[in-house]
């Protein structure tokens, strides 16, 4: 009888811990989804990647992100949001006037990314498939390969970064 009670308690604990972990992950995804929807950029059909690049943070990671962005800005499968722009002029000089004023580039001038609790020194990438966020991750120095993955792998097939 005592063993049964103990098992039930342990079971509850395990379920509770798992639900905590899942809700933690979900919370991050919900925030990202809310952030992206604030810019009204999620179509119902097809696959595309939302790439958020902080202008301030890990300089090598940001350089890689901006390099990726410059060559792909305007392509329908990629949406770019630049955030944490503490020095607009520096950012404009670094990316060039054409990129800075490009209609497809979204500038998060009110730091909504930070307000949503998503702030990081690394770029963040979310892959949407048919209107649903499928994969989400930060591109830190150990995940540099992600830029190649985004280029070479069918977006709907990307399950993790």
């Amino acid at each position: 009888m005592k063993a049964d009670s103990a098992n039930i308690i342990i079971g509850f604990c395990v379920v509770f811990l798992i639900s905590l972990l899942v809700s933690g992950c979900n919370r991050q995804e919900r925030r990202f989804d809310r952030f992206v929807h604030k810019f009204g950029m999620v179509p119902d059909k097809g696959a595309f990647a939302v790439i958020v690049i902080p202008a301030t943070g890990c300089s090598g990671c940001i350089r890689a992100g901006l390099g990726f962005m410059k060559k792909r800005l305007g392509r329908p499968e990629y949406k770019f949001i630049v955030t944490a722009i503490h020095d607009r002029k520096l950012f404009r000089i670094r990316v060039g006037e054409d990129v800075y004023n490009h209609a497809s580039l979204i500038k998060d001038i009110h730091d909504i990314w930070e307000q949503e609790g998503l702030k990081s020194i690394y770029p963040q990438v979310g892959v949407y498939v048919d209107g649903r966020l499928q994969t989400l991750g930060y591109i830190d120095p150990y995940k540099k390969h992600t830029w190649k993955v985004l280029d070479n792998v069918e977006l709907s097939a990307i399950k993790e970064f």
Partner: protein, 388 residues
């Protein structure tokens, strides 16, 4: 009558005791707070021209030559370019643009360094762990390799070079401010690393003070910053978690209390955690935000004053690491390290990583004015006023 004399003696005794405690301090030697009222007052501003293709982001603003400054040197972060201004009229007199490719190039990650003279310019790359020496034509004269600073390498302090933690040159050695690593014991840690420019040998300088042995401090709280008084040849070290300044000369090392009246810094733990974890950094930031910290120390040779900078504790809930820079302040001290006044600065307006001192006073970059006009670097000027 006897009672009256006793009462008089008691009052005199109490008065003497109060006077003594007001003028000396248990922690620092000879520390005093001056009775005369002083205030640091905003008085005008300095506007520097900024080229259309240069921006205000910087980690390195310095006047030179160090002993008797004539010029202001401003390194534009991310653009590998420096603007040089004359301190007399604040006109731009030179622009130094480093190559991004070729034999004289430095990597894009250079953020700071030290200019000793027009012909002796050091650039430091934190990520490449290299120090580059250039002449006035921006020809690369020599490279120095920094000691290993990898997280997993154990031992050693991380070199830190910025406006608030400037490099200093003493005879033929460069002095680097540092941040202590997890692996160093405070009892054997030093505040600075020295690089002998002739022999390329690295050394240690300024043993960390007693306060760091009373608990375990982390990250920004283990930083040091150094100023040099070329008139007295004193080296002044400000520690991020210490109320005291450590003043070294040829013959002695003394401590002077130079504390903000609005914060009390404590260690995060009693002893070193059992393992190093990057995951712990967020709680370190939260602790630093909750307690405040001292950032740097500057000497003004024209006014014979010191400015000690820091950040007050964050009010309210901790949200992210950037909060530790929210509430800057400055303490002004005279040449005897007596506190003259303390001033809170508006963190929405001022960046204390972008400032300089000259004959007119203390000039602090105003970021709000830069947002209004991106082709000017505007510094608000602060001067010390008596009887305020």
């Amino acid at each position: 009558m006897i009672k009256f004399v006793c009462l008089f003696h008691c009052i005199a005794l109490v008065y003497t005791a109060f006077s003594l405690t007001g003028c000396t301090n248990g922690n620092g030697q000879g520390a005093k707070t001056i009775v005369t009222q002083y205030a640091l007052v905003k008085e005008g501003a300095v506007e520097l021209d900024l080229a259309y293709d240069l921006a205000a982001s910087t980690s390195w603003v310095q006047t030179f030559p160090a002993a008797s400054p004539e010029y202001l040197y401003f390194f534009h972060r991310g653009l590998n370019t420096a603007s040089v201004y004359d301190l007399d009229d604040y006109k731009k007199i030179a622009e130094l643009r480093w190559q991004l490719e070729g034999p004289n190039a430095v990597g894009p990650s250079v953020r700071s360094g030290y200019i000793a003279s027009w012909d002796t310019i050091f650039l430091y790359s934190f990520s490449a762990k290299r120090l580059y020496l250039y002449d006035s034509s921006l020809n690369l004269k020599r490279k120095y390799i920094a000691e290993s600073e990898h997280f997993d390498a154990g031992q050693g302090n991380y070199l830190r070079v910025s406006t608030q933690m400037p490099l200093q040159l003493i005879s033929e050695s460069l002095i680097f401010s540092t941040e202590k690593s997890y692996w160093n014991d405070f009892s054997s840690a030093y505040a600075a690393k020295t690089l002998n420019l002739v022999t390329s040998q690295w050394g240690d300088k300024y043993p960390m003070p007693q306060i760091y042995r009373q608990g375990w401090y982390e990250h920004f709280h283990t930083r040091s910053a150094i100023a040099i008084n070329y008139k007295t040849n004193e080296q002044i070290v400000s520690y991020a978690a210490s109320d005291n300044l450590q003043v070294s000369s040829k013959n002695h090392t003394k401590e002077y209390k130079a504390a903000s009246g609005k914060m009390k810094i404590s260690p995060i733990r009693t002893k070193r955690p059992t393992k190093f974890s990057i995951g712990d950094f967020e709680q370190y930031y939260a602790h630093i935000a909750a307690t405040g910290w001292y950032a740097g120390i500057f000497y003004n040779p024209w006014k014979n004053l010191y400015y000690r900078f820091g950040y007050y504790p964050v009010k309210g809930e901790y949200k992210d690491s950037r909060q530790i820079f929210s509430y800057p302040f400055v303490i002004v001290l005279n040449h005897n390290f007596e506190i003259l006044c303390e001033k809170a600065l508006d963190g929405d307006d001022y960046l204390i990583d972008n400032l300089f001192v000259d004959q007119r006073g203390l000039h602090i970059f105003n970021k709000r004015k830069y947002e209004e006009n991106e082709d000017k670097l505007t510094y608000d000027t602060f001067v010390l006023k008596e009887g305020q």
